[in-house]
């Protein structure tokens, strides 16, 4: 028994030796990890005799257990006028840099940045400085600090003439120490002026994969604020003109246009489609006496094209309006709407535009008031002057469109213009033909920086004529019976059009990719995040 015991003991010992070795290794690893942690995040309680104990650390998870009357200041409001005051700021830690007994932190709030100085002093201990220098980037921190004027100015911060001298620093929400992309890299200007400087850029796909981080850049902050502005101006301008906002269904029983590029969804026992445009429903609202309607909503296109300007889901701003005598009433209303929108952007979004231009430089957007209206034949003449011939019943190709944009810009210096009287042959069957010229139609396109943003027309509101035109186009009448029936009980003459929000913002800012103006873009290769 004893022997056995011994042997057992021996084997135990042998095992325990191995185990001890393993343990030791584990412990070593753990200690290393802990050390690593210590260098990055200081979670341990500070050493004793710390003068600034209780003035820094990790704040417990805020679960709304108590309320406070403490007012947090915004970084953008910190300037010379509040110099000398003590303020609380909650912001993201943009960069941190320790140098001996000092620690410099740059706080970021949207596009505004300010420098925070943590200096070893009577009330600030060494370990507080050490803790501060270990907070990972992008963490959200609370800082209590005194605003101090900096005569020389702080380079690289938006608040140049003041800095914060910290007396308390608390981590509210910790960021993971490793970032998939650096905010500085993501916000670096596309064409840096000095060739020798860092030239690291973040790939479009990396940006989209880590959209939350990418959206934190000042440029993206500005882009989506401006996009919201476009939407707001669209709404405000139309409300002012007595338009009614309507909401149209996105699940529809039949393909609204064409049919090839439509998403099919299963709908209980059958299938349904995702709306490609609110066209039919806008027109039905007109037939239902709403006179002037607009709608803002998602539009789906199942086009398998991976270009810089196509998305499979985008936001459509659509409007439809009944008119008295001539569809130009509607066309000019839309033109004025754009002018008003551009003016609003020019006046209220100057700051955003200049931030975006720093990263993506573009010529300022120019326009005329009232907008320039050219007829299709005028445009053909302009093109013919430079040797590009476009047939009378031919549509413009994309390069021709861009060339025309350049010609118009050279002559009239406008980035926005309306092209009227498109050939009937290149328009859908419901477009009203021009009564004076059988080859032309009452339809118009609007262009921004040489790219088409809106395509609209007077629609045929007479069921018989509509049937005739549909037959002429070789369309099976039974498939569009619902559409034709909408006009059976009388309908006022009407016209309208629709724009893509993302495309308008992209072209207004002169950006090169529509994915830059769609917060979570959807294209044939991406449905995440």
């Amino acid at each position: 028994m004893v022997d056995k015991n011994i042997s057992a003991d021996n084997s135990d010992k042998a095992e325990s030796k191995k185990a001890a070795k393993k343990e030791a290794k584990k412990a070593e690893k753990a200690s290393k990890r802990a050390e690593h942690k210590q260098t990055t995040v200081q979670l341990d309680t500070p050493e004793e005799g710390d003068v600034s104990l209780g003035k820094y650390g990790n704040l417990p998870l805020i679960r709304s257990e108590s309320n406070s009357t403490r007012v947090a200041s915004y970084v953008k409001d910190l300037n010379k006028s509040v110099s000398g005051q003590t303020v609380w700021v909650r912001a993201r830690l943009h960069t941190v840099r320790a140098r001996g007994k000092q620690c410099f932190i740059v706080l970021r709030q949207r596009e505004f940045t300010i420098q925070v100085l943590i200096n070893v002093s009577e009330s600030v201990s060494k370990s507080m400085v050490k803790f501060s220098s270990g907070i990972p980037k992008e963490s959200i921190i609370d800082v209590e600090a005194r605003v101090a004027e900096v005569p020389a100015g702080v380079a690289g911060c938006s608040q140049q003439d003041v800095e914060l001298v910290a007396s308390q620093i608390w981590v509210v929400s910790l960021s993971a120490p490793q970032l998939p992309l650096q905010i500085e890299d993501a916000s670096r200007p596309e064409k840096s002026e000095d060739e020798e400087g860092l030239n690291i850029h973040v790939n479009q796909d990396t940006r989209l994969d880590n959209r939350i981080l990418d959206l934190r850049t000042p440029t993206n902050q500005a882009i989506y604020r401006l996009e919201a502005g476009v939407c707001r101006f669209f709404r405000e301008c139309l409300m002012k003109r007595d338009f009614v906002e309507i909401h149209t269904p996105k699940i529809i029983p039949a393909a609204s246009e064409g049919g090839a590029n439509v998403f099919t969804v299963s709908y209980f026992k059958g299938s349904a489609y995702l709306a490609q445009s609110p066209q039919l429903y806008k027109q039905m609202a007109i037939a239902a006496d709403f006179e002037k309607v607009f709608t803002i909503g998602a539009v789906f296109r199942a086009e398998d094209s991976n270009t810089h300007r196509h998305l499979t889901e985008f936001t459509g701003l659509d409007l439809e309006m009944a008119f008295q005598f001539h569809y130009h009433e509607v066309m000019l209303t839309i033109g004025d709407l754009f002018t008003e929108m551009f003016k609003g952007l020019r006046e209220q979004y100057q700051h955003e535009i200049s931030i975006i231009n720093q990263q993506y430089p573009a010529e300022p957007f120019t326009f005329l008031d009232p907008p320039l209206v050219l007829e299709f034949n005028d445009a053909r003449k302009l093109l013919a002057e430079v040797g590009v011939d476009v047939g009378e019943e031919e549509d413009f190709s994309t390069p021709t469109e861009k060339l025309l944009g350049r010609l118009v810009k050279a002559k009239y210096d406008t980035d926005f213009y309306i092209l009227d009287k498109f050939p009937l042959a290149v328009r859908p069957f419901y477009t009203m033909p021009d009564p004076r010229n059988p080859k032309a139609s009452n339809s118009y396109d609007m262009f921004m920086r040489g790219e088409e943003i809106l395509s609209g027309a007077q629609r045929i509101h007479d069921p018989e004529f509509l049937t005739q035109r549909a037959k002429h186009h070789g369309i099976d009448i039974s498939t569009i019976a619902a559409y034709i029936d909408a006009f059976k009980y009388g309908c006022p003459p009407h016209a309208g059009g629709g724009i893509g929000l993302e495309r308008v913002v992209m072209l207004y800012l002169g950006l090169d990719n529509i994915r830059k103006t769609s917060m979570f873009p959807r294209d044939p290769k991406r449905i995440t995040p």
Binding site: K343, F365, T366, L368, P371, L372, Y412, D413
Partner: protein
């Protein structure tokens, strides 16, 4: 074979005795060299051969007429020819007038247009046809008042149809500019006169406006006026006048007045205008208002207050205002 050393035979690359296919796409020319070899020796027709007969065509015709004077029926033939020529002339005039009326109805929206005189309006419409859509970039602080006068002065020969746009580089228009714009845009147009479409774009340009005909802008209001009076036939066209140099000189002064930055600069320029005016009614010692008066009126109205003018000039200024109304 063709040398002392027989290396190898070369292929003959040029064959001289095959028939050559001449292209038929153009037109045939007489072979001037082959004529003499054909045996028809005629020195007067052959360019290469030396002409033996020194008589020129004029002499030949004279000779021919001398010989044929006594031919019976010649007078009859002559009369017939005359008649045919007359008919041809008539036909030509008819075609011209049809051409003219067609051109006008293309150009202007006039429903019916009857050409009055042939020659002058023909030139006119031909010239104005080229100016379909002109763009004028104007600084709103320097409204070109001359356009209003010139629109009235030219209304018998050409309609100046204005439309106005506000460029995004300008935030709002001063009152003077708004008034001028509304007068220009709402002016009545005569029917049956060719129309030129001018687009005014209020834009942040220099003091001197820009006229865009092609890609290079024509700078300056006076140059716009020169362009317009030459394009349209009117009494304002001064090219054929004896004092055209003087008018050009006055126009250049107007250009400088608009461009001037200091008051002293302006004063000296105004003095030269005053000198040119002298004791006469209009600038350049003329009895009728010329384009120089229109340009000077506009330049002064843009830059100087009337109080700064000398008594002589301010009287002239009031006369200018009278033609404006």
């Amino acid at each position: 074979m063709n040398g002392p050393i027989k290396m190898h035979r070369t292929k003959q690359i040029i064959h001289h005795n095959i028939p050559v296919q001449l292209p038929k796409c153009m037109y045939n020319l007489k072979n001037i060299h082959s004529r003499s070899t054909n045996g028809v020796v005629d020195g007067s027709h052959d360019h290469v051969g030396v002409s033996k007969n020194k008589l020129d065509i004029f002499d030949q015709v004279k000779q021919f007429l001398k010989i044929n004077q006594c031919v019976p029926g010649m007078a009859e033939l002559e009369a017939k020819q005359e008649q045919i020529l007359k008919q041809l002339d008539e036909l030509r005039n008819q075609i011209l007038s049809i051409k003219l009326s067609l051109k006008i109805s293309n150009n202007a929206s006039a429903k019916s247009s009857v050409p009055t005189s042939t020659i002058s309006t023909r030139v006119n419409s031909k010239k104005t046809n080229q100016l379909v859509d002109l763009v004028i970039n104007i600084n709103p602080l320097n409204p070109p008042y001359s356009l209003e006068i010139i629109q009235k002065q030219l209304q018998d020969s050409v309609n100046l149809k204005f439309s106005a746009h506000l460029h995004s580089s300008v935030f709002s228009l001063p009152e003077d500019a708004i008034n001028l714009q509304s007068r220009l845009v709402n002016a009545n147009l005569k029917e049956g006169v060719p129309t030129v479409h001018l687009r005014l774009i209020w834009k942040n340009v220099s003091n001197n406006l820009e006229l865009l005909v092609s890609h290079t802008p024509i700078i300056g209001e006076v140059n716009l006026l020169r362009y317009l009076v030459r394009a349209a036939v009117s009494s304002l066209d001064y090219d054929a006048d004896a004092d055209s140099v003087e008018i050009d000189y006055l126009l250049d002064i107007c250009y400088l007045i608009v461009r001037s930055k200091t008051k002293t600069e302006r004063t000296s320029l105004l003095q030269s205008l005053n000198k040119s005016l002298g004791k006469s009614q209009w600038l350049g010692g003329r009895s009728l208002a010329s384009i120089a008066d229109i340009a000077a009126y506009s330049a002064i109205r843009q830059t100087v207050s009337i109080k700064e003018l000398s008594a002589n000039l301010s009287k002239w200024f009031l006369r200018c205002e009278a033609i404006n109304c």
